[in-house]
Subunit: 88 residues, 2 copies
DNA sequence: CTGTTTGAAGCTGATATCGAAGTCACATTA
DNA sequence: TAATGTGACTTCGATATCAGCTTCAAACAG
């Protein structure tokens, strides 16, 4: 069984990390102790608090078995690329 | 044209963000000014500095057009996942 | 040569992250 | 009733992130 999802913001990322933790049958305290961090951090990460360090993020990704993929494609070149992209 | 890649650590994430920025024809200073942050932060992010805030990360992902996907599956129950991943 | 733009990088101070420890309500057990 | 474990959430203090500013070398144009 594999769960997938696009990660647009901190909330979506937190949900995926929570899924990963629960699939491993770990509590927030167990995961925090394994990572050598506080339980509050795990909770804040899962809640989608935006101001967190990417360092801890990658540790948590490894511990929860969540894999991350990035994808980028070129903007349209045949139109004038002088305007800002309108997907905000 | 679309570039894809798994993001295992801060370095891989930085490379994808740099690709995204360059594909949009932006300099580090331009991107930094657009985000209201410092140029050094953009450089550090692209270099793969681990201790950076996810808040700025998601802003930078949007600005560079880089999309992020997460994927998680259930762990093996018959073995212990006690070993570290070997790409360190 | 002079000026501009680029990425790379140092320094300083204000802010906030984060670990540690604790609290609380709720659920499950004995 | 009491003990235990969970997620949610607080306060406190040391540390470090980050913006702002500056500098530097290289590339390029005028």
């Amino acid at each position: 069984m594999t769960l997938r999802g696009q990660v647009r913001n901190a909330e979506a990322l937190g949900r995926m990390l929570q899924q990963g933790r629960m699939l491993h049958g770990m509590s927030q305290r167990q995961l925090a102790e394994q990572l050598g961090i506080g339980q509050k951090w795990v909770w804040e990460m899962e809640q989608g608090k935006p101001g967190l360090l990417t360092e801890r993020l990658f540790e948590m990704l490894r511990a929860t078995g969540v894999r991350l993929y990035a994808e980028v494609d070129e903007p349209e070149e045949d139109a004038h690329p002088s305007e800002l992209s309108s997907d905000e």
